[in-house]
């Protein structure tokens, strides 16, 4: 078994381990986004979910750089995630300089401006319903290759399962409730980033790194840490 194969196996075991009762959906997606970057040998990964307005919202990313957040937001008007979400099929642009501008006149230049040359989007679907997409970015142009693409889609499927608990997916209502919960958790984390950034005079990106590190070192849910930061019960979050 190659190193990559072993790493893939470890990742799936690690992800499966987090899928216990009352688990932390944001922490799970965060881990997944980081593993996608590592295993697919890409430079950034973002997970977007559609809300009840049909708006795509970033819920997790391998990097909390504002640029990545902006690229996700932009895709509510155009971009690979929107295309993957609408068609339910993977979308790839191996070189954003060739053809990217025709297809996405706003997204392609913005992505290049952020330093990305290749972009891929994998639909997150539950049977006939597409709930969002996984966005993968590369700094160098190039295709993902069929194996990486298949692995990426498997990761996107795992993300879907992680968001929609298997046992309740038969009910549309539960799906909507769980999507809503994931999106709302994300909003809470953004608020906590702001609170911490202001308190410690750091950037919002650094604030997220602190939140995440604190959640991991105390083995807590990202959502719970965020809630405690916002309501002021947790003040001791800083670089150690």
């Amino acid at each position: 078994m190659s190193t990559t194969d072993r790493r893939v196996r470890e990742t799936f075991v690690e992800l499966a381990d987090t899928l216990v009762d009352d688990y932390d959906v944001l922490g799970f997606l965060d881990l997944l986004a980081h593993r996608v970057v590592e295993l697919l040998d890409v430079d950034a990964c973002g997970v977007v979910l559609a809300d009840h307005h049909g708006t795509l919202n970033l819920v997790a990313a391998s990097s909390e750089e504002t640029r990545l957040l902006e690229l996700s937001q932009l895709q509510n008007s155009e971009g690979p995630c929107l295309d993957a979400f609408r068609t339910g099929r993977p979308v790839s642009m191996d070189d954003l300089t060739t053809g990217g501008d025709q297809r996405w006149p706003r997204f392609a230049p913005a992505a290049r401006g952020a330093g990305y040359a290749a972009v891929h989007a994998l639909p997150m679907r539950l049977r006939e319903v597409v709930i969002g997409a996984m966005n993968v970015f590369g700094r160098a142009p190039g295709s993902l290759g069929s194996e990486s693409l298949a692995l990426g889609q498997a990761m996107a499927d795992v993300a879907t399962i992680g968001i929609l608990h298997e046992r309740t997916t038969r009910q549309h209502e539960e799906v909507a409730g769980q999507l809503q919960a994931a999106l709302d958790s994300r909003i809470l984390v953004e608020q906590a980033k702001g609170v911490l950034a202001e308190r410690l005079s750091v950037s919002v990106d650094d604030a997220f790194a602190l939140l995440r590190a604190h959640a991991r070192s105390t083995n807590s849910k990202l959502r719970d840490i965020a809630a405690a930061v916002v309501d002021g019960t947790l003040t001791d979050v800083r670089r150690r």
Binding site: D51, L69, Q73, E173, E174, D184, G194, A197, E198, V230
Partner: protein
């Protein structure tokens, strides 16, 4: 029938039975709406007479079912930590809401949030303004900015959202742009020294960017 509950007490209930049940939840401190308000997210109860519902709300669920109300669907009127209330949707017949009605109810809860925030900020923008300012509510930067402003002013995040929206409205700017300025630290909110209420939104800005239109007449309505 729809009732919108504030943090503690019902502020609007449509229909006598709905009003009674809202009061009951509030008095007992028990029920789907109470749980939704406490941060449990969307609470969907297709049948209040059913075992799980009765076990979870042993007094409220049977009382509601006895009065002929079987379905209760509670939607937080909230964005993250900014929780302003709950939208309770009641139904006489048992059964799920269905995907379409559920999406509608969630959209209603969003609309109520916007209306409540703007009412607190004394923003009288009308439906057109709200349609514009409604969707960016989910933008990451708006919520990051709300977190920052809550610390700058020593207020709750919901109140910070109120101030941000009111500022954007008074200065005729997009909420997302105002939020971006706050996050980039080009704009800070300072406590209002006059001690007046939120209607004085235009006067509480300090260190506004040099090119901003901070001299825009207050109110603008």
């Amino acid at each position: 029938m729809v009732g919108a509950t504030g943090a503690r007490e019902p502020v609007l209930a449509v229909g006598a039975l709905c009003e009674e049940l809202e009061e009951l939840q509030s008095t007992l401190g028990q029920g789907p709406g109470v749980d939704a308000a406490a941060g449990d997210g969307v609470v969907l109860v297709p049948d209040l007479a059913d075992g799980p519902a009765v076990r979870r709300w042993p007094v409220f669920a049977p009382a509601a079912a006895e009065r002929g109300m079987r379905g209760l669907f509670a939607f937080p009127v909230a964005a993250g930590a900014a929780r302003v209330g709950v939208l309770d949707v009641y139904r006489r017949d048992p059964g799920g809401l269905g995907a379409e009605l559920l999406a509608t109810a969630l959209a209603f809860a969003d609309a109520v949030l916007v209306v409540v925030l703007d009412e607190r900020g004394a923003v009288a923008g009308g439906p057109d303004h709200r349609r514009d300012a409604m969707l960016p509510e989910r933008r990451a930067e708006v919520h990051q900015a709300a977190g920052m402003v809550s610390v700058q002013l020593g207020i709750q995040v919901s109140e910070a959202l109120v101030r941000l929206r009111a500022y954007a409205y008074v200065h005729e700017r997009r909420l997302a742009d105002v939020a971006a300025d706050v996050v980039a630290r080009r704009l800070r909110f300072a406590p209002d020294r006059r001690g007046t209420d939120d209607t004085a939104v235009g006067s509480e800005m300090m260190d506004a960017p040099p090119n901003s239109d901070h001299d825009h007449p207050e109110g603008g309505t």
